[in-house]
């Protein structure tokens, strides 16, 4: 590494540390930003001669990154942007000071993926899914598909692309790559995939297939597939026993297993290691506040909410739903009507958040028993009182389930200390 790069890393590290000392944040973003300003080629330099995997997509990036890190960690330390800073400045911080013989798993923002791939020349890229994060973002989703596809045109044996064959947009983007491992990871949310990304024709979906009516685009035959709770790796069926809940996370595990396989970790070993992942950036983990203990779920878009119902299905504890509509959440709350909240009938729901009233209206039409309680603390107290009146089995279980959209989630995790399942 040249003197300029070394100085850039030092300056960035110093900035990160002072940011942490001043409690201004985790320090990843500011330190990386300073380092990149001092040496724009720094990310490429830090990644040179290193085995790197990139993970991108709308939903499941952080979790899949964490699962792949767990698999690779069976062979020693792994560099990763575990804090979720998924743009180049976060990647610089993740790689700074980590020896070159250590592999890296980078969670990458969808928009930044082509730029990061150009810089780090990854051995493998995991493409999870693509849908709108917000209601008015479909045009952006189409631009991302085109940019991903352009990124892979002309790619030969490297990178090996691990792509979700159940997502037509991801499939279309991945097709030009020289080597693709197609994974049948599932796709619960198809509302953004009605139209063929290739020709604009209608797509038709069946249980384990999809195809365009007007052109040859169809679901590729997967090499690795999630089926009946098992992962089928070219005919070898392996059980998936994760600590993380839900079908979506089993799909994430299937993609991470395929990526680990490319990087030399046997699928059975990879899956065994993934069992140790119990919480990801506050998601799924049990949090404790004076008001109550609760398992916290992040659902930042309709696709995410659909997955969450699957995770809540077996629980019989009071549920708190927190909804904001700040810029990061999307200002329009109409999406609440794209989510099948009718599935919550029979549960009691405490609704909170700055736009809790919008959700209360939705739940009234869905005939879900609910009450609107402004203020997060008050909502937690209300739900806890209900829990105390109807004590359920399992003293070790958290009192509540809490599902929140993006900024509401940040508020709920900000001041809590996980009691279990943290990394």
């Amino acid at each position: 590494m040249g003197v300029r790069s070394s100085l850039a890393v030092l300056a960035g590290t110093a900035a990160s540390q002072s940011s942490r000392l001043l409690r201004r944040g985790s320090g990843e973003v500011i330190g990386g930003r300073i380092a990149l300003e001092l040496q724009p080629g720094l990310l490429a330099e830090l990644a040179a001669d290193r085995v790197v995997a990139c993970v991108s997509g709308t939903n499941g990036k952080t979790t899949t990154t964490r699962l792949l890190v767990a698999a690779l960690a069976t062979r020693g330390p792994v560099a990763s942007n575990a804090g979720g800073a998924n743009m180049p400045e976060g990647h610089v911080v993740a790689l700074s000071g980590v020896p070159r013989d250590r592999p890296a798993v980078l969670e990458v923002d969808e928009v930044y993926l082509p730029q990061v791939v150009a810089a780090v020349a990854p051995r493998t890229i995991v493409l999870l899914n693509l849908s709108r994060d917000q209601l008015d973002r479909m045009a952006e989703t189409r631009r991302i598909v085109a940019a991903w596809r352009a990124m892979l045109v002309g790619a030969t044996e490297r990178p090996v692309v691990i792509a979700n064959a159940d997502d037509p947009l991801v499939t279309w983007a991945a097709m030009p790559a020289g080597r693709v491992v197609w994974v049948g990871a599932g796709l619960a949310w198809r509302s953004d995939a009605a139209i063929c990304p290739s020709c604009g024709g209608l797509l038709t979906f069946a249980a384990e297939s999809w195809a365009c009516e007007e052109c040859p685009l169809r679901r590729p035959e997967p090499e690795v597939a999630l089926r009946d709770g098992e992962i089928d790796v070219r005919g070898e069926r392996l059980p998936v026993e994760l600590a993380l809940p839900g079908r979506a996370n089993r799909g994430n595990a299937a993609l991470a297993t395929a990526a680990a396989d490319v990087l030399g970790i046997a699928p059975a070993d990879a899956l065994a290691a993934m069992r140790a992942v119990t919480g990801v950036g506050g998601r799924y983990a049990v949090h404790r506040r004076p008001e109550a203990t609760y398992r916290l779920f992040l659902a930042k878009n309709p696709a995410g909410w659909v997955e969450i119902f699957d995770m809540l299905a077996e629980a019989d504890r009071p549920l708190v739903l927190a909804i904001n509509a700040r810029t990061a959440d999307g200002r329009d709350t109409s999406w609440l009507w794209d989510v099948p909240f009718e599935k919550l009938r029979g549960r009691h729901v405490v609704v909170t958040g700055e736009r809790g009233a919008d959700l209360a209206l939705r739940l009234a039409y869905a005939e879900v028993d609910h009450e609107l309680v402004p203020g997060t603390d008050a909502a937690l107290r209300t739900a806890k009182r209900r829990r105390d009146q109807h004590p359920a089995a399992g003293a070790d279980d958290p009192d509540l389930d809490v599902v929140a959209n993006y900024t509401a989630f940040q508020a709920l995790r900000g001041t809590v200390a996980p009691v279990s399942g943290h990394q």
Partner: protein
Amino acid sequence: MSDSSVAIALLYPELLGTYGDNGNATVLAQRLRWRGIAAEVVTVAPRAPLPTCEIYLLGGGEDDPQRHVARDLAEGGRLTAAVEGGAVVLAVCAGLQVLGRSFATGEGRYAEGVGLLDIETGRPPRDQQHKRAVGEAVVEPRRSLNLPMLVGFENHGGLTTLRGHALPLGTVRVGIGNGTADRAEGVISGHVVGTYLHGPVLALNPALADMLLGWVVGELPPLPDDTVDAAAERVKAIRLEAAGLTTLGM
């Protein structure tokens, strides 16, 4: 569909349902059921024949799906025949555009619409195209409808011009609406109503929902429980505040 049940057709939700507008079907069906009137929502898939229903609903969507919708709806003139037979139609955003004579599909190209409404949708002039209409909207309904102020969230890049007998649904007090100089929002022609308001519009504006239902079943008894309309009032107050208004002709 039994004779006593009101059939509500939700048209092509896979293509025109990604802005929450499918909720309009839920709202109409529930407001009938709660009054003891049977209702069923009939979801119509692309390419499927148009069923005979009392109410047809179209939602918002993207440019690409719009052309499939226009083709399916124009086929055999079924929707036009249903409207001539007295059916009620609510079309939101892309759905509104599709029902007109023509609509822009981007890059200066135009597609032929169903022709049920005497409207045309183009793009705003080039120098104003960055002004996509996104945000809270407040609409004063045309007086003859006797409705309270309408609220919703608009999110579109169209410029809709009304011709002939098409009348605006109302006038925008906050927001862009159809994008024309007269500040018109939406369109009403007989029992066909079009609007740019999402929310869904019938969830946020229950009086508009009841107006459409009244066209089908006649005078409506009050809801047995006012919880849901109280919830809508709370949301409406938040919307008005977000739009920079507090109490405005409520």
